[in-house]
Symmetry: C2
Subunit: 397 residues, 2 copies
């Protein structure tokens, strides 16, 4: 199998992070989280990716050394079977015995942390390196963006298949299953990595008619009824009918990178109020495209878009209603769904060239349904550029 | 939507756990993990499920109260918007102010634990309640088993579809995608909950021919090549040919409960060595069926099966080869893939009636492929009863 990233790129990421470690007097970073491990090594192993503040990183795994060597440009891949062996590796990874160790505290479990604290890194001081890892990961390289474009292409393909397949009498569930199948045949990996352990996100939500406005239990603007109390979100067994909005929100993964997009479909004449909501969503996209430039903070963009949305007479339905409103308009996306930056209140993350953001201004109108589009964008000098190119915002059938 | 479990069953689970809390002087349990929350409430919410040692539990969520009220028999569902409100709820949940609080430390992140420790449960002592939760969850009720039977039925259906669909020239990936689509149409939810945050498990692995023997990077006996370094496991773009084993390992989820099963397929004449491995796998299943009775420990069953497997001349390939062998023969399964008990060395969990176990004695033979069957079983007085009923262990086409 071909490596996803050249050795120079992978070691460049490591060197950039080593600069952060040096500047913050952190002697060593222990990368345990799959998504972070993938970013720094180009693949995933069952173990730890160890980055000393200077010198060569070590990929220490319990098994599968040969596979990792064939999938990652990392030269130092070693197997450990006992915790004493892991300890030895960590103690000797840098030039001096480490005293301060960085770990991503938002994703390590308390049990695993206690294992590292008491068995491996005795008498060391722990620092939380989650934010700097997420900040570095938020700015994508050209090669990462080209992978994300491929994911977005699959997303566009899914919409073109939906256009051919939607017919009255089809259930949301069966339409979603068919689209997922088509996406798989085009290389969608079918996993959706999420940093927040409470969030569960799958391939797609097909939400139709008034029931589509059922609020989410998770931190997402749209919810849907689902088919089971065990996973009460997304597509339901509701039959799609004429004269209602069908919102198709898909999450594609190609070579480990995600693309998140939503389009609207309607058989026959669309409801007027949802058309108005869609128009507003589109104008908010235009504002985002123009204003989401390097240098602006995520919080400023949030305020700008929200103030514009307030001019709509449908504002009470914007991003949910009442207690069920969510407090963001977009989220960074890449290896994980919930990356930096968040287009949300008071976020002081400064937008940079190469950041990738799923922007999703949506209206959830009880008794009517869901309207709004979502694109995954990359931030460029002139503003935000959509990676999705499916041209129709509302496809009428 | 219909409730999955009657009020009596859900409150019975809570009362049983309250007995444990009382016996261990734990004043309150804070359930934060989705799978545990589903077990105790019948659904999932964005927040905490609070179980005082005695008295009524509280489902405290940030949003989606109405939905939870319609999907769970829990009567006390409240919304909190600020951490001070959550603190108030926890301080007043029991008869006295709690001093000792139980939390599942294997699944809570360090950041969330610190939030609870410093903002909510100040001056309280924390106890790890992961093992008792997992032990209670490991014994399934009649209603849980009937849901798991439905999941197993979908698994059986998938094999019957594979029998019709497999043909030379098809890729592993496309076969797997087709089967996943068929499973979705039968109600497979498409999520696979895993307790271990390092494990990533999807619908299925279709592994064919010699490349199927590629070891896993995760803690699973079979691996597969996959299609990307970003998720290097499972089905690949390899074309299925005549005269080789095709191992189809599927993970179905129906109403939140899983079924895990593997069957073998072959176009034409199967390789002799893999046939021998399959025969051995079957005889180990027979031994498991007879011996996995209430009262035996999981470790005893592991030793018994392993000693029998050692008699095979193919033992060096049993559960992997060399450094890539895994040290278990089966795993508890239900809401999560990796439940108690583990059929693994030195496990002292005592088997009980109603425990559900995926048993998977497999041979991974480099240069040849993968052979072995897997069933999800329920422990009964007389031994283990398979929930899967697809009758063919090797389907020749």
């Amino acid at each position: 199998m071909k490596l996803l990233f050249a050795k120079e790129e992978i070691y460049g990421r490591i060197e950039k992070f080593q600069k952060f470690l040096q500047d913050n007097a952190i002697d060593i970073a222990i990368i345990h989280h799959n998504a972070d491990m993938f970013y720094f090594s180009g693949t995933i192993g069952n173990g730890y990716f160890i980055i000393p503040a200077s010198g060569d990183p070590i990929f220490a795994v319990k098994r599968g050394v040969e596979r990792i060597k064939s999938l990652s440009p990392i030269s130092n891949v070693v197997v450990f079977k006992k915790s004493s062996e892991l300890k030895e590796l960590i103690l000797n990874a840098g030039k001096t015995t480490p005293k301060t160790v960085g770990i991503a505290m938002d994703v390590i479990t308390l049990s695993e942390f206690k294992f590292l604290e008491t068995r491996i890194c005795n008498n060391m001081t722990f620092k939380n390196i989650s934010a700097p890892i997420r900040l570095q990961r938020s700015v994508k390289s050209e090669s990462e963006i080209s992978i994300m474009k491929k994911a977005a292409e699959i997303g566009d393909y899914v919409f073109s298949e939906a256009k051919k397949y939607i017919k009255p009498g089809l259930t949301e569930w069966n339409l979603c299953a068919y689209l997922e199948y088509q996406a798989k045949l085009k290389g969608n990996l079918g996993i959706v990595r999420v940093r927040n352990p409470h969030l569960e996100i799958v391939f797609g939500h097909v939400l139709s008619g008034p029931e589509g406005a059922e609020p989410s239990y998770g931190d997402t603007p749209t919810g849907g009824v689902g088919v089971s109390p065990a996973f009460a979100q997304g597509s339901s067994s509701r039959i799609i009918s004429e004269g209602e909005f069908i919102s198709i929100d898909t999450m594609l993964c190609y070579n480990g990178y995600l693309s998140d997009q939503t389009r609207n479909f309607c058989i026959g004449t669309p409801p007027e109020q949802l058309m108005e909501a869609l128009e507003t969503s589109l104008s908010l996209h235009n504002l985002f495209v123009q204003s989401a430039k390097p240098g602006a903070t995520a919080g400023e963009i949030y305020d700008l878009i929200l103030n514009e949305a307030k001019k709509s007479r449908l504002f009470e339905f914007f991003m949910g209603t009442g207690n069920n409103k969510v407090s963001f308009l977009g989220h960074g996306i890449g290896i994980e769904v919930d990356e930096f930056p968040f287009i949300a209140p008071k976020q002081n993350t400064i937008l940079q060239k190469g950041m990738t953001i799923a922007f999703e201004p949506k209206f959830i109108i009880p008794g009517e349904g869901v309207a709004g589009i979502e694109n995954t964008y990359v931030i460029q000098e002139g503003g935000a550029l959509p990676l999705n190119t499916f041209p129709e915002n509302l496809t009428t059938l």
